[in-house]
């Protein structure tokens, strides 16, 4: 890069002091606008459901959060596979960032599910298929984050995480099947009731809007989280590099004094 008098201006572009950019600002603002719209339609405008009553409003949160969570873990799986193939930092950081966001949204899914359950069943928890599966998967991905937190060199950490990312994702359909068959034996109502609710008009709009808004939100979060992960790696590297440079400095200084002492003795 050539240094010119416009260095200051280009510095401001190339060396941002945060993880924001034009893309994230667009995503962020549209998310906020969308969220406002969602509150208006989801909480106030759309009517209560014939079958589900007011609880459909919780589903406007619950369905988007679980969708985002599954999308996140899909990205983690793809990132894990790509990392094991290409061995580039990008895929590792993408997988890890997506996993963390996925865990947050899985947690929210369970929260919303429990609140829906409290209204519908009168209890915060029932071993119905969706909630049970989500609980198992949440624990699985908490394990991913636990391994991620273990101090290790980047390649070791990335390999371990990638393995778990893949092992966890193939478990998802198996857990679904096992839990569905198991709880189906007890005629547990799923969180959607025994029949899919017929939603139309503003209800459908609120549902799809919720999905769209949360997807925008997810993209915004993923970009920022990825950049944070990237910066963390650079900071760790430069920290290590600085420490090594210091040692070298000390070593050359002490050997220089040793040489001058021995010369002085002669």
């Amino acid at each position: 890069m050539t240094t010119t008098t416009t260095q200051a201006a280009s510095d401001r572009r190339v060396a941002p002091t945060s993880t924001s950019s034009t893309a994230t600002r667009v995503l962020g603002i549209s998310s906020l606008v969308g969220l406002a719209l969602l509150v208006i339609f989801g909480v106030f405008v759309s009517p209560p459901d014939a079958e589900l009553g007011q609880t459909i409003r919780i589903l406007y949160m619950h369905v988007p959060t679980v969708s985002v969570a599954y999308l996140a873990f899909l990205i983690t799986a793809v990132g894990s596979a790509m990392y094991l193939w290409k061995r580039t930092e990008f895929w590792d950081l993408l997988a890890a960032s997506a996993a963390e966001i996925g865990v947050v949204f899985f947690g929210l899914t369970i929260l919303n599910g429990m609140l829906w359950g409290k209204i519908t069943w009168g209890v915060f928890w029932r071993w119905e298929p969706r909630l049970t599966t989500t609980a198992v998967l949440l624990l699985t991905y908490l394990g991913y984050l636990a391994v991620r937190a273990i101090p290790a060199d980047p390649r070791t950490r990335a390999t371990r995480s990638a393995a778990i990312g893949l092992l966890a994702v193939v478990n998802i359909p198996i857990v679904h099947k096992a839990v569905d068959w198991w709880r189906g034996l007890h005629q547990e109502r799923t969180i959607f009731g025994t029949t899919k609710p017929e939603i139309q008009g503003t209800q459908a709009f609120a549902a799809y809007l919720g999905l769209a808004v949360f997807l925008l939100l997810f993209a915004w979060l993923l970009i920022h989280r990825f950049r944070v992960a990237f910066l963390a790696e650079r900071a760790a590297e430069s920290g290590l590099g600085a420490a090594i440079a210091e040692r070298r400095q000390e070593a050359s200084e002490s050997s220089a004094t040793a040489v001058s002492h021995s010369e002085g003795d002669r």
Binding site: D11, V14, S18, M61, V104, L115, V228, L231
Partner: protein, 56 residues
């Protein structure tokens, strides 16, 4: 707590959790940006840092 109460908790809780997480990510981003040298701050191309390890 009434039905409305639980619905409020669901919406507020979700927004709050996402908001707190988002703020935490943003704050970490700012803090790390200060620590990292300017030319290293943005991912520009595929950095094959693992290739360096492999060559050791």
């Amino acid at each position: 707590m009434s039905t409305t109460g639980y619905i409020v908790v669901a919406w507020v809780g979700t927004f709050l959790a996402v908001g707190v997480y988002a703020l935490w990510v943003l704050q970490r981003g700012r803090a790390l940006s200060k620590q990292v040298a300017p030319e290293q701050r943005r991912w520009m191309k595929s950095t094959d840092t693992n290739a360096k390890d492999a060559s050791q």
